[in-house]
């Protein structure tokens, strides 16, 4: 069995998804598309983030957030969803916790909603189709 000492990682780097204390950032992924949810989960997990919950619509997301509060460090929020859309959900979450860190996931052509979200307190936005590098970059800057 190969151990770390056999192949020392010369460029050892703390993964972006891990806090200074060694525990991972806890993420709530909100998207009505299972495919996108999985994609985001994979991308985040690859950098050490821990997706602690997922939600398929705004209402569920809001309840989950409240349930787990304060054990969620970041939310990725799809904009178009059934029951409660992402922007409304964002608004509610911000009302509940003004320090919430939410990154919007938007399809092209929803500029207006993205702008509204940013003004409501979203930290950043990611445009679909998702690109691993960009997702990570924006999630990381949102956590600062």
């Amino acid at each position: 069995m190969k151990t770390k000492s056999d192949f020392p990682n010369l460029n050892e780097r703390k993964p972006d998804g891990v806090k200074d204390d060694g525990t991972p950032y806890r993420v709530l992924v909100v998207d009505d598309s299972v495919f996108v949810t999985k994609q985001i989960t994979q991308i985040l997990a690859s950098e050490g983030f821990e997706v602690v919950a997922t939600a398929a619509d705004g209402e569920e997301a809001l309840n989950t957030y409240k349930d787990k509060y304060p054990n969620i460090d970041l939310v990725t929020m799809d904009i178009t969803m059934p029951k409660m859309d992402g922007v409304t959900c964002l608004e509610k979450i911000m009302e509940f916790d003004k320090n919430a860190k939410v990154v919007m996931i938007s399809a092209l052509g929803k500029q207006e909603l993205v702008k509204r979200s940013l003004l409501l307190g979203a930290k950043n936005y990611i445009v679909k189709p998702l690109d691993r590098k960009k997702v990570l970059e924006r999630v990381v800057t949102s956590l600062e």
């Binding site: 500029q111 207006e112 993205v114 702008k115 003004l119 307190g121 936005y125 600062e144």
Partner: protein, 782 residues
Amino acid sequence: MSDYLDPNNEELLKDFFAEAQAQIEALEQNILVLEQDPANRDAIDEIFRAAHTLKGGAGTVQMLELAEFTHIVEDLLDAIRSQKVSANPSLVDTLLQALDVIKDMLDYRVEGKVYKKDVSQLQSQLKSYLAAGGVSVPRTQTPPSPPKTPAKHTVTAHNAIPSSTGGLSEYERMELKEASNGKKVYKVSVHFDESNPMNSVGGIQVFAVLKELGTVLKTHPEFDKLYEDNFFEVVDYYMTVDVDWAVLDKKLHIGDVTTGYEILEIELPGAPVKKAETKAVSHSPAAEIKKVPTVEKPTSTENEERADQEASTDATKKSASVGSVLRVDSKRIDNLLNLVSETVINKATFNQIANIFTEGMVEFHAQNNLLREGLKNFLEKIPEFFNQMQAGANPKDLKKRMNDEIFPLMKIYDQVESKLKSAINNFKSSSQNLSRIIGELHEGVLRIRMVPISQIFSRFPRLVRDLSKTLNKKVNLILEGEDTELDKSVIEDLLDPLIHIVRNAIDHGIEDPEYRESIGKDEEGSLVMSAHNEGNMIVIEVYDDGKGIDVETIKRKAVERGLIHPTKILSDVEAFNLIFEPGFSTAKTVTNISGRGVGLDVVRKQIEKLNGSVSIWSERGRGSRFTIKLPLTLAIIQGLLVRVGKEVYVIPITSVIDSHRILPTDIKIIDNYEVFNVRKDVISLLRLSQLFGLKAEEGQYQFVVVVGSGDRKMGLLVDSLIGEEDVVIKPLKDTYTASPGIAGATILGDGRVSLIIDVSQLLDLGLRQERAIREKREIRVR
């Protein structure tokens, strides 16, 4: 220019001149610092700020020649700041020359004239430095660098943020000023990446980021436009910033969204700030900033001239009414108001006491009437008593009855008495209170006129620098106690004497660097100017570590000039003080700086005019020290009240050395002079009664007040000493000022007018007489 800043507004002009003076001082000080330490960033920034403020101010009051000239200076300063030109000595010289021109321009304006001298040579000299430094004005562009590297964002310090009007109209800037709540407003111009798939979001995204870091007051294009689905390559955010530039820098770097930004401080109207050039902080070639001129210049020289002339006539009209302005800390005024309100309360107390007295008087009258009536009754009863006595009544019994009649009459005033007693006590304490308040009020009013001595000290670094350069000496000037406060009028009259003393110290005192080194002294001579309070006096000292004063040379010179008799034996102090005599100069050659014979005697005159004294102490080879003592204020002095005949005179206590009670037989005659001995000294006497033509009283004792300054002493013979008192000096009208020996008049507590004796004049008088007599005698001897 704008219509709400009237360039002929008197208040505005006053403020401008006051501020300009401050800026010039700041400029001068910091240029000198720069000379010592060419890399001093703080000094450079400060110079910059001062020059820029000056330029902005000049523009506001339409002093275009000033604004234009300062502008050129500013360009050069900017080059220094951005390290494109280094501050070498010749550059510093040029800067100082330019500063002198600026001063002249201001002086002309103060007098309501316009500076018309040709400054083109100096201008081209200034510009030549720019050219030599390879600087083109305006700004060279920051070389483009690849995006996405936060390190390429230059984190600028707060004090290095450039400023300008930001291309905004006066009205827009007014709006910003209103909205900013007094904070500085910055224009953050952010460049966006067009290749971003949702590039129209950037403007809002940055807005959302910025509003966390301060208050965004305005955007260009406007917020509504940003919200619509449009892409703008550059968006300007006008905002106040509550965080460090580092934070702002970090937050403004958004991957794929922004490509770079510039920050510019907006000059708000009424508060000109910093400088007028932009500093691009960018990582994209898109950042090209054009300089925004703050001063609108007329297009042709003809226009310019006309504008100048107009300004000139207007200014002339105004300048007559622009008096001297005193800036007073508002706390001092508040304190005065407070005291005034206390006196008002005190007045009420006095009113009350007056009422009690009136009541007491009424009561007294009533009781008095009762007493009279009682006495009348009693007197009426006396025959009855007699009858009873004759009828053989018991005398004891009778006495008791009489007592009973009188006893109530004896107690009749008791009540009034106790009432008046308490009223008197009340009166006494109120009056004490009042004198305390008046004392404080007095001090408070005096303090209004007090200004820190730094107002004149600050001129010396430049003076010393110029002097030492001309004389090829190295001098390190140290200023101490610059916060010491002095009456404004005193400070104004103090400048010339101080300049004189400092010139003397550098010219005659401090040796050449080579010589200093050869005798083991530090190559650089030091000159200290210090000020501090001593009781109610201010002591200003100027001392150097130069060669000191050669007593022998002084004696020789004094004999040569006939100031002293060759046989006279002088103490060192007496010798030092000879240099204050008119026509005395020990310099071997006449230099441009000092040694023209008009010298320290003027200094002494000036200081004595201020009721002060000046003395000197020196140690050969070690240096010399000038000590000036001045009263805190001119208006009030402590005086010794003396009586001569029926008149009361005041002798300023500062010149009183001591006083003696003597018998007429203690007065001796030497050389037709009345003298008397105090310990080992022989002091000549001056009878004030003779001087002022009064009839002296022939008492058993006489009193001598020994007065003097430095080594000069004289005894004033008076009839009696009354005491010490603070007296307010009232100047005498012109017709009476010719009377020798009188400095002014004052009104005493009892309303009498008393004359104040001018001791230095009396001393001169005595000395002159002595010299005249000696000369006469010398002629006779020949």
